[in-house]
Amino acid sequence: MNTKFLTFGMSIAILALFSSCDKDPVVPNEEELITTVNYTLTPVSTGQTVTYTFLDIDGDGGNAPIISTIGELKSGTSYNGVLTLLNEAGNPSQNITEEIEAEDKDHQLFFAVSGGTVGKMVISYDDKDANNQPLGLKTKVSTTGTGTGKLMITLRHLPNKSATGVSTGNITNAGGETDIEVNFDIVIK
């Protein structure tokens, strides 16, 4: 009995030693990731197009994001604003804007101007979701006067669109979860 017991114990111990000792994880395809926010302002009549870009290819952590502006915002101009979201981490890159359009009722963008450009850069919604509530992928932007300030663009997932002020672009009562929140320096010349 004694030897039987020991043999049994030994064979188990040997079995245990054969358990694998290498791991090869599968690198996930981060299809939900948003790496790029482009906010493009095209003048309604003539003038220069302005593009604000927030780029963070490697997601949270890793290298710091790159925030850039191409073009100059001119005073006294009306622009058509178009916001695009991309996932450029994979190859080919993915258009996240389409996902937002497909779930327009569950999303809303908010544009908040602060600093010296308050009242000088006015942004209003130019699109509606299936419930006739604002979405914000398309906007109307008009500028008056000069100054420098900040623009914060926020995308909320599952906000309460019927809460007070939300349909006019006030984020205070919106709730929901932030999918993007980016800041740009604004200069109106």
Partner: protein, 772 residues
């Protein structure tokens, strides 16, 4: 004619046979004996002894003695009951006048077993064991394991909402507390503060806690203590016996059921348990906690073979499934969202209707545990013991995601683990020792398909250890010493932000040692002093975590530079009767930990496309924890008992010269219980009025938390239990329970939910357990 003669002859023979048989069937046998307390052999006066087959019984005299006459030879089920004790069913053979001593477990004091004798498998450490017995488990039915444990002073819970709670022993939790599930250390994703242990408390007949210094036999993770879930010995009875239990609760409209059955065959003894629970949204005094429902299913089986005196074998398997909703309003994005959530009186997404629906965010866990134990007795004083445990833990966590990805887990982990422990035990007159070797393997895999970079990498953890425990007994004193040496190897395959796989191999050699002294100062007062040193290597999450941890809404970063944690702890426990009616137990401790590993909030926020996130990094600091808990039980009269418990921990982050995060505040519990016996058809009525108070935690570093700790609060609970008897003498227990009777609004410091919502309001329960 001949045939009639034969018939006559046969009938005569038959009559003679019957007569002889009746004559030999002496129905004048006497069963006499005594009913005593299992712990101190004290006589239990007026206990009842009832023979089920005969539907008759008797009441013991004031010395616990009884006599039952006119019994025919045979085997009988005998139910022994006593006021304030759990009734016990004995199956005995009565062939001649028999004198029998019946033992009952008196549940008056729910703890204190200073085991001066007993073999190594029973006295797991030198410290006192605080046990919650079946009776108390019944009175706490419908609660989670961790919540049940809080009836032991010094044990608190770390929570993430009403369903998710982890046990905390003297301020230690997670990687520093080991849960021994039927002899096998539970392997789950215990690192997560929002990961509750994957165990149904209904699979255990008793649950105990050792506070501190348990690392020698069960590994260096047991630095803060161990929680033990164990079955009781299955009685030798060839019939199915057991109990079933139903609990209904008003808060969350919770209904649950559990059953246990046992039987002893010639070859093996069997115990089966099964249970389920279903609950919907819980409610605070003012609003529903939307999406906080849960559902559980559990099953377990024990098969043990005791046919040979030399060789005992036991097989155990348990399965636990659990689905937990997480408060919808606690799911937030970045710091802006978090601050907005703080300012709200009622959380976002609160529905004004109750629902059983469990949506995202939620957790789903499957846990399998299989165990094989064998003990081989070389002779009476020495044996070999082998434990093998295999566990599979599958955890899926679902988040609120875009484009129908809600059904796709955001975290999907599969942990396969093995545990092998072999020890040799030998005892002589005053010396006993246990020498053992142990091997553990844990293999963690991120199940592909989440579409999210894993927070915890894939890894394999190989641990080999050897330990030696010796006990030397003298007249009133017992010295225990232990040493453990542990070698650990991690193989980690991490995916970094550039989607590259980087492999690491890390080795650690660590150890633990203890020296304990148990002493009987007088017949009634015992004390234990235990000094231990434990050297705990960092766990994989502490070294390699990387990414956004939704449960804490922060970016967690592991630290590969971490060194082992060195804990020096002195525990002094007291247990004694200071007067015939007063019992006191106390546990005092001093714990100095150098390189105490914790998640430290970093000063700078990390800028991401979703806004700013707080960053938490694992670092080692020098910490000091000191405190204790004390419990006083006083029998005011024969029926009325008052008990009070107080626990307090002072904790300091020495490096930062500040308080330490997540330490339970001062807690005070007062209970008044009134138990009285036979009244009409009710055999026992026990009413408990409870009061508990939690102070405000003021010893904290406000830079390390989002919000100040919540204010002090008190709760009033009340419960009444009735014991009825079936026609066959079996017990039926019925309990009515009210928790947070006054429907107080409060928040708990150790509950992450405090950032978003209040605690649950009053809850009324009906709890029925029937034995057969």
């Amino acid at each position: 004619m001949l045939s009639t003669n034969i018939r006559k002859f046969l009938s005569l023979t038959f009559i003679i046979f019957l007569f002889l048989n009746a004559w030999s069937q002496d129905c004048h046998i006497m069963l006499s004996g005594k009913v005593v307390d299992q712990h101190d052999e004290e006589n239990l006066e007026f206990a009842t002894v009832y023979i089920q087959e005969l539907n008759s019984g008797t009441v013991c005299d004031s010395l616990g003695q009884f006599t039952l006459g006119e019994i025919c030879p045979g085997k009988y089920h005998i139910i022994v009951s006593h006021l304030g004790c759990e009734s016990k069913n004995y199956y005995i053979s009565i062939m001649e006048n028999t004198h029998q001593i019946f033992h009952l477990e008196h549940h008056e004091e729910l703890m204190d077993e200073v085991e001066i004798t007993g073999d190594a498998s029973q006295s797991k450490t030198g410290l006192n064991k605080n046990t919650i017995k079946k009776e108390i488990l019944f009175e706490q039915a419908g609660k989670s394991l961790s919540e049940i444990l809080t009836s032991i002073p010094g044990v608190s819970t770390l929570k993430s909402g009403p369903n998710l709670s982890k046990p905390m022993i003297q301020g230690m939790y997670g990687n520093r507390v080991t849960i021994l599930n039927h002899g096998i250390p539970q392997e789950g994703q215990q690192w997560g503060n929002d990961h509750a242990p994957e165990i149904d408390p209904n699979t255990a007949d008793k649950i105990s806690v050792y506070k501190g210094a348990s690392a020698i036999r069960f590994g260096l993770q047991a630095i803060g203590g161990i929680v033990i879930l164990e079955p009781e010995e299955i009685p030798k009875d060839p019939h199915w016996h057991g109990s079933y239990q139903t609990t209904l609760q008003t808060n969350g409209l919770n209904f649950s059921g559990a059953a246990t059955v046992r039987k002893s065959y010639d070859l093996a003894k069997i115990r089966l348990t099964g249970g389920f629970a279903k609950s919907g949204d819980k409610k605070t005094p003012d609003y529903f906690l939307t999406n906080t429902g849960n559902s559980d299913i559990s099953f377990s089986i024990i098969v043990s073979n005791h046919t040979s005196n030399k060789w005992k074998r036991l097989f155990y398997y348990s399965y636990f499934y659990n689905k937990n909703g997480i408060l919808r309003g606690s799911h937030i994005g970045n710091v802006t969202d978090l601050e907005e959530a703080f300012s709200r009186k009622v959380p976002f997404y609160t529905e004004d209707k109750f629902s059983y629906n469990i949506d995202v965010p939620r957790q789903e866990v499957n846990h399998h545990l299989a165990k094989y134990n064998t003990k081989y007795f070389i002779n009476e004083s020495s044996n070999f013991n082998l434990d093998i445990g295999i566990q599979v833990n599958q955890r899926s966590e679902f988040d609120i995601r875009r484009s129908n990805r809600n059904d796709k887990p955001a975290l999907d982990l599969n942990l396969f683990s093995q545990y092998y422990d072999l020890y040799y035990f030998k005892q002589s007159d005053n010396l006993e020792y246990t020498a053992g070797i142990q091997y553990r393997n844990a293999n963690n895999t991120n199940v592909p398909g989440t579409g999210i970079l894993p927070l915890i990498p894939d890894y394999i953890n190989n641990t080999g250890a050897g330990y030696l425990i010796s006990k030397y007994k003298m007249k009133n004193i017992q010295i225990e010493s232990g040493l453990r040496v542990e070698f650990r190897n991690y193989f980690v395959a991490k995916i970094n932000n550039n989607k590259e796989i980087i492999k690491y191999r890390l080795n650690y050699l660590n150890w633990a040692a203890n020296l304990g002294l148990k002493s009987s100062i007088s017949k009634d007062i015992k004390t234990v002093v235990d000094i231990s040193f434990t050297n705990r290597p960092p766990e994989v999450n502490e070294l390699f975590s990387n990414g956004l941890h939704q449960g804490v809404s922060g970016i967690e970063e592991g630290n590969i530079q971490l060194k082992a944690e060195n804990s020096f702890k002195i525990v002094n426990e007291w247990d004694g009767k200071i007067s015939p009616s007063t019992n006191i137990t106390a546990s005092l401790f001093y714990n100095r930990i150098s390189n105490y590993i914790y998640l430290q909030p970093q000063k700078e926020f990390r800028l991401t496309i979703r806004g700013a996130f707080p960053v938490f990094k694992y670092i080692g600091t020098d910490a000091l924890l000191a405190g204790g808990d004390i419990k006083l039980i006083h029998n005011l009269t024969h029926h009325l008992q008052a008990s009070s418990g107080l626990s307090y921990i002072y904790a300091k982050n020495i490096t930062q010269n500040s308080g330490l995060i997540r330490i339970p505040p001062l807690n005070l519990q007062l209970n008044l219980s009134y138990t009285f016996g036979k009244f009409w058809k009710i055999h026992e009525i026990k009413t408990v009025l409870g009061f508990s108070y939690d102070a405000k935690q003021t010893n904290v570093d406000l830079n390390e938390d989002f919000l100040n700790p919540p204010d002090e609060y008190y709760l009033v609970n009340i419960s009444t239990k009735f014991r009825l008897k079936t026609g066959k003498g079996n017990d039926i227990d019925i309990q009515f329970r009210a928790e947070n009777l006054l429907n107080n609004t409060y928040r708990q410091y150790l509950n992450r939910l405090r950032y978003f919502a209040d605690e649950t309001g009053s809850n009324f329960s009906l709890n029925i357990k029937s034995y057969f």
